[in-house]
């Protein structure tokens, strides 16, 4: 049998790694190749999350110009505290969106979780851990029920979770009973965690530097594996450069936050959840299956993937994240009430995922969009809080700014599509 690629000129074949032998590829070897590739990526609009970041920078710049407390350390620390709860909920939304499904009930589930926590801890006198576990399990069970309904009866997730939104809100009111608002003691662990626990100065820098080191080590290991397998590698200079960028991205905020109270542990938990889920999505078989189901459910089924299992796990995870978000929200407000999880919690969580770049149509997106998206949303909301606006004007401005932030991103996507990289 002939396995050779008979037509490629033999000399270049020998010199090039297996993945760079095609003649049609525009040369990508070495640092110059990389720089060229980067430039051409920029030109063709393949910018990853850069556009949203640019949108964010614009928003920050404008708000800072309007009110110079916007970028103050104190306000930025507040921003981190404000982002954690809904951001955590948005991680779950990213997951269901990756499947091309939706969960409209995350607000209610987070509200129920707040209510269970408060009633359990305060009224029933459960130990906090028990209350927390019960609240999270309740969320998971709701998600499993959604998954079961979806996979068994094929009811669209939009309808299931719309019904869930109402039913779970009912449950929340039922759990709260006649009490209405229940305050959670300020000296309870959860409230302290959500309001007053910050990384010690030294620890915060160590954490940031560790993250950079981990990145470099991982890249170097991948490089050596790829070289051993005869595949192309990233030039060390490039790795160094990227590590530098990462270091700046991590250390500057750490410094700024440390000028006020510091890096909130609750926010760190949220970021950690994002990182873990990003790993799970990109680097595990489960995550690959999620992407496959979201991309083409029939192809996934034919590939032998347990499609029902994937749906179940994702709906369960989404509600679980919603429940965790509810706990964080309760901790931060030091209270649970009938409107916990109400208002625009749902819309903000979904919007965060979408603004961060996760597609509503499945198969495209990243856990990081929850982080980016929620920061955009909270920045707008926090920035507008600093300006004395009438509600009517504030609504109009919020809508406009939101649109602006996403238009930058969409424009670049559009150019990407025109360049055939949709």
């Amino acid at each position: 049998m002939s396995t050779a690629t008979p037509n490629a000129p033999q000399d270049t074949t020998a010199a090039l790694p297996a993945d760079l032998q095609d003649e049609r590829l525009i040369a990508q070897q070495g640092v110059r190749g990389w720089a060229g590739a980067f430039l051409s990526r920029l030109k063709s609009g393949d910018l990853g999350s850069l556009p949203v970041v640019i949108g964010l920078v614009i928003i920050w710049g404008v708000f800072q110009a309007l009110n110079d407390s916007f970028l103050s350390s104190r306000n930025l620390v507040n921003l981190t505290l404000q982002s954690a709860a809904v951001g955590t909920i948005a991680i779950g939304i990213v997951l269901v969106l990756l499947l091309g499904e939706i969960d409209l009930s995350v607000g209610s589930v987070s509200g129920l979780s707040s209510a269970i926590l408060a009633v359990g801890m305060v009224n029933q006198g459960w130990p906090s851990v028990v209350a927390i576990v019960v609240a999270i399990v309740a969320g998971m069970v709701i998600g499993l029920a959604y998954g079961a309904l979806f996979t068994r009866f094929g009811v669209p997730s939009f309808v299931i979770t719309l019904a869930g939104l109402l039913a779970v809100l009912g449950l929340q009111l039922y759990v709260l009973g006649k009490e209405g608002t229940i305050n959670i003691p300020f000296d309870s662990g959860l409230v302290k965690f959500a309001q007053q626990t910050f990384l010690p100065l030294a620890v915060s820098y160590v954490v940031a530097l560790l993250a950079v080191a981990l990145y470099v080590l991982t890249r170097l290991r991948v490089n050596s594996q790829r070289a051993a397998a005869g595949l192309s590698t990233t030039p060390n200079v490039m790795i160094g450069l990227r590590a530098l960028v990462l270091a700046v991205v991590l250390l500057v905020p750490t410094y700024v936050l440390n000028r006020d109270r510091g890096v909130s542990v609750m926010f760190l938990l949220f970021v950690a959840l994002v990182v873990v889920m990003d790993f799970a999505i990109r680097r595990t078989g489960w995550g690959r299956s999620v992407m496959a189901v979201g991309g083409n459910v029939e192809a996934a089924r034919r590939a032998g993937i347990n499609v029902k299992g994937i749906y179940l796990s994702v709906f369960a995870l989404c509600s679980t994240f919603a429940a965790i978000g509810g706990l964080l929200a309760a901790g931060r407000l030091a209270a649970a009430n009938q409107s916990s999880g109400g208002g625009d919690t749902n819309l903000n969580a979904i919007a965060a995922a979408v603004i961060g770049g996760t597609s509503l149509f499945g198969g495209r997106g990243s856990a990081y969009s929850a982080l980016l998206g929620i920061i955009v949303i909270q920045s707008i909301s926090s920035g507008l809080s600093l300006l004395n606006l009438d509600s009517s004007i504030r609504y109009m401005v919020t809508g406009g700014v939101l649109l602006l932030a996403v238009t930058v991103d969409s424009l670049s996507r559009r150019s990407r599509a025109a360049h055939g990289r949709a």
């Binding site: 002939s2 397998a229 991309g295 083409n296 089924r301 032998g304 990289r421």
Partner: protein, 267 residues
């Protein structure tokens, strides 16, 4: 017509009386079908004859309305593609069934990922992908682009390469060479022969009679959803098979053929 009954004893896969109906359309009616180990059976028939429906029924994509299936001597009912794979049935579907958002490596190893610890071993999968694709003479510039951006033939090559992973007992190829270039087609025919030589059962669907005659041992003809004869390649001619497919001896094909002969004689 020299239609002969299929040998019923050594079949790895055997269908009896399979019917499948879609709404008002009877896609399959009373189909009997066998494949032996180490045998290439060509499944041929006109457009809409029910070939793909039969393949999908065997692969667990559709459940038949009637009929039984025997695999490796045991009567089984395959109700999901996962089960079919567990039994050892690998399939290249006509509609390819790739995930457009995943890259070539992701699609190749979908459902059969390689691990390094608990994480995916992307490096080994990429290396292995290049090996498989080279083997099929694939002309794919990069395995790290979403398959959405591949050409028709490139996509088909990826689907075929998929079926080479694992060690299936029966391989079903639904028009595997339809979009392939001449070199790639030749490689796939080589591959079919290698599979047979290694004792696999192969079901090959194709509209290309010369390919069929070149690699098949037996030809099974479907016509409008019904059995229309089985032929041993060594004992039949292309003409005879085409007649069974179209249900007539004179038709557009033979007309074209005769015109061509005339033309060639003139020139």
């Amino acid at each position: 017509m020299t239609a002969t009954a299929a040998p019923a004893t050594t079949a790895v896969l055997s269908l009896k009386g399979v019917s499948k109906r879609f709404g008002a359309v009877q896609a399959l009616k009373d189909i009997d079908f066998d494949v032996n180990a180490g045998e290439v059976v060509a499944l041929v028939g006109d457009n809409g004859a029910g070939k793909s429906t039969l393949v999908k029924t065997i692969a667990g994509v559709y459940t038949p309305d009637e009929g039984t299936m025997t695999f490796d001597g045991r009567t089984t009912s395959v109700s999901t593609p996962a089960e079919a794979q567990r039994l050892g049935i690998a399939t290249v579907f006509q509609d390819l069934a790739l995930c457009d958002n995943l890259d070539v490596v992701g699609n190749l190893f979908l459902g059969r990922e390689l691990y390094r610890g608990r994480a995916l071993d992307e490096v080994r999968m990429e290396q292995e992908s290049w090996r498989l694709l080279r083997q099929l003479s694939a002309k794919i510039p990069s395995v790290r682009i979403p398959v959405a951006s591949l050409s028709g033939g490139q996509r088909q090559t990826v689907a075929i390469a998929r079926s080479l992973l694992g060690d299936p007992k029966v391989v079903m190829l639904d028009e595997p060479t339809a979009a392939l270039g001449v070199a790639q087609t030749a490689e796939v025919l080589n591959l079919v022969e290698r599979l047979r030589d290694n004792g696999h059962g192969v079901i090959l669907i194709s509209h290309n009679m010369s390919d069929v005659m070149a690699v098949a041992d037996r030809v099974h003809v479907l016509r409008l959803g019904r059995n229309n004869g089985t032929f041993h390649v060594s004992q039949t001619s292309t003409q005879e098979i085409i007649a069974a497919i179209t249900g007539a001896t004179t038709n557009a094909v033979s007309e074209r053929a005769s015109r061509r002969v005339q033309k060639e004689e003139q020139s």
